[in-house]
């Protein structure tokens, strides 16, 4: 095999089965002894790196293609843009921070903990200012949640467009957050001044130049919203809002304000740019839905997929993917190989308590070079079944951008390649 760093990225991106087949074939043929076993290899004889070599490690060089990628034609400037998690190459459910998608409106800023301030004002008994150190003295919670951009799969409304699950479904990540519940902080400021909480809102705002701000109904604010400062056990990355971001479980990613600097208790929504001109959904007749916060149940097969083709030939095949719902737990995922005529139920590889978090599913099956139209269909604890794109279009028309949670189809061809297609 050639040096992987020299291999054209095309092989990984388009998933050329031929480019990857060589190594697998050698290991599988039983006739001649495998030199990797019979000969002493350099790594079995010489020495590796010492413990003082890498104070903080990156993935090994052979995994250098497992990176975030962006779509340059999508936006005017990479500073106000989005990139995509390489979900085709990941397994399990936790997304490593270093390859978890980024979306910012004025670039990823660098804000020191020492310079961090969080203000709570508005209809509270005492307006307060917290330092980072103050936040660490409140009782802490740990929760795993998915964060999905409302625009995930948004480029696919009009038809199959991007040939890779990273691009069609990669505006998502799933992390374990450590932080303080927003409820605790609001109680610290006191909500007597707010009176009846039923019609109150909190407005949350970031410290970066975009000053991204969203209005959240008080019910949600007091329910499960988290002011988080750690993800997957370590500090947030700057691109995810270091040192403090908001976590709004099950709701669209734009509300998960990064570099959180201010929380205002209000008697109505601000109707900010990001909740009027953006993150609203134009229907067929031109009227638009607003406040479409919840991310409905969705699933996608991550392998095989255009960037992760079948390279091992006929025989046992693991079909795997991710499912999630902003309404709670995923209860079931079905997989179809014939474009939705027949379905079989996949195995969920998950912790029972996961709610509003990614669920991994597997279908341990066999592939013998058939043409497949591969689909996954998620079901959540409310009994909601992930719709087809046609079902969504029937209700919403074709002018939406956000909240496309349709069933995705991959066409698997006899050579093991996969292509993004739309089916009748």
């Amino acid at each position: 095999m050639s040096d992987p760093t020299q291999t054209s990225r095309r092989a990984f991106l388009r998933g050329s089965a031929a480019a990857l087949a060589g190594g697998a074939a050698t290991a599988a043929s039983a006739g001649t002894p495998d030199p990797l076993i019979t000969e002493v290899q350099s790594w079995a004889s010489g020495l590796g790196e010492g413990v003082d070599e890498t104070p903080y490690g990156l993935p090994i060089e052979f995994e250098s293609d497992v990176v975030r990628r962006n779509v340059p034609w999508l936006t005017a400037d990479p500073i106000s843009s989005i990139n995509f998690t390489p979900i085709h190459a990941l397994d399990g459910t936790i997304t490593p921070q270093g390859c978890a998608f980024e979306r910012h409106h004025s670039g990823a800023i660098e804000l020191r903990k020492e310079d961090y301030r969080l203000m709570i004002n508005g209809l509270v008994d005492t307006p307060l200012v917290f330092t980072y150190a103050d936040l660490e003295r409140f009782p802490r919670e740990n929760h795993v949640y998915f964060c999905e951009c409302a625009a995930n799969t948004g480029m696919e409304w009009a038809g199959a467009q991007l040939n890779g699950v990273q691009f069609t479904h990669g505006m998502i990540h799933n992390m374990e957050y450590s932080g303080v519940s927003l409820r605790t902080l609001l109680e610290e400021a006191g909500l007597d001044a707010a009176g009846d909480l039923a019609d109150k809102w909190v407005y949350v705002e970031g410290a970066d130049a975009s000053s991204n701000g969203r209005s959240i109904p008080m019910e949600k604010a007091l329910d499960d919203v988290l002011v988080a400062f750690k993800a997957n056990g370590e500090a947030l990355r700057k691109e995810h809002g270091y040192p403090v971001r908001l976590v709004v479980p099950g709701w669209e990613g734009n509300m998960w304000v990064k570099w959180l600097r201010r929380i205002e208790v209000m008697d109505g929504p601000v109707e900010s740019r990001e909740e009027t001109s953006k993150y609203t959904d134009v229907l067929a007749d031109g009227t638009a839905r607003k406040w479409t916060w919840v991310m409905d149940a969705k699933s996608v097969i991550t392998s095989p997929s255009p960037q992760a083709p079948i390279t091992h030939g006929a025989g046992p095949l693991v079909i795997t993917g991710l499912a999630w719902s902003g309404h709670g737990k995923i209860t079931r995922v079905d997989v179809s190989k014939d474009g939705g005529i027949t379905w079989e139920t996949a195995r969920l590889g998950k912790a029972e308590e996961d709610s509003k978090a990614l669920t991994r599913f597997y279908l341990d099956t066999e592939w013998n070079g058939e043409d497949w139209l591969l689909q996954a269909r998620a079901m959540d604890e409310t009994g909601y079944i992930q719709p087809t794109k046609d079902q969504l279009r029937e209700v919403r028309g074709e002018n939406s951008i956000y909240h496309n949670n349709c069933i995705q189809t991959w066409h698997i061809t006899p050579d093991g390649e996969a292509e993004n297609v739309e089916v009748s």
Partner: protein
Amino acid sequence: MSKFLKATVATCVLATPVFAEGYGLGREALPEEIQAWDVDIRPGGAGLPEGSGDVWTGEEVFADYCAVCHGDFAEGVDNWPVLAGGFDTLADKDPVKTVGSYWPHLSTVWDYVNRSMPFGGAQTLEPDEVYAIVAYILYSNDMVDDDFVLSDENFAEFEMYNEGGFIVDDRAETEYTIWRKEPCMENCKDSVEITMRASVVDVTPEETAEEEAAAQVEDSTQVAAVAEDAPAQEAPVVAALDPELVAAGEKAFKKCSACHQVGDGAKNRTGPALNGIMGAAAGQAEGFKYSKALQAMAEEGLVWDEANMTAFLTKPREFMKGTKMSFAGFRKESDLEAVIEYLKSHAE
């Protein structure tokens, strides 16, 4: 909102008592601090500072700060947002969603311009400038006459075109009732046909060595062509600068300052810091992430001499296909000349 409250879960959350006694952490926010950060503007204009701005002032301010990306007539440059027009397109395929055609509240425009714009120079506008810019955006949408003055006093009277165009999330009634049902497992449809393929559209980004090399060849051809057109360079002379021209350049540089800094303590922002740029080799600002296009031209030896800088700032995207700089180019030769003189005045 009322719909949301019907959900039993939400009601339970509100019913849980909120305790008054806390941990005694944090400190009271001072009025000056709240004033500095609490600047959001509500529908109807609550929160607006005193002030006013007219359309003609707005046109000037807009040209200085906004037109780089949004175009002189708010028509949008490249992929940057279009702010004007698009009326009655919302039900069409590919609706044009602008401030005029789509935004339901004028307060949102003021709030967003004030807090988040200009790109790379946010929170630097004076209230009167914001009023003027908003007035100009309304004018560019044919929503006001050219003698219109927007102020905190007449703000609440203004009604937006699409104010009634929004409904609160109704998925619970229009979608969930349909899709919460027993899933079909067999014979779910008669037949299946592929109706569309992503490979036909072919817009998936690809990173290949071949393509990058090809792009570089293309870029270098451009450099060569530019070099041929450019007049032969004289030996560098340290000419005395024209102070009037430098002053005019400082003014014209306002167009650039949303993205570029120059002078003492200049740092890279959206664009690289420009101290010592005149006469320098391209792509030298430390720590700035240049476009592939610029890097390729820099490797070919591009130098920011007067001829190249003039060509670049006249039509940036023609001179450098793929440049990250979103500026459309100076239309007035006098502005261009002045800016170059101003840049010369900021040698290293």
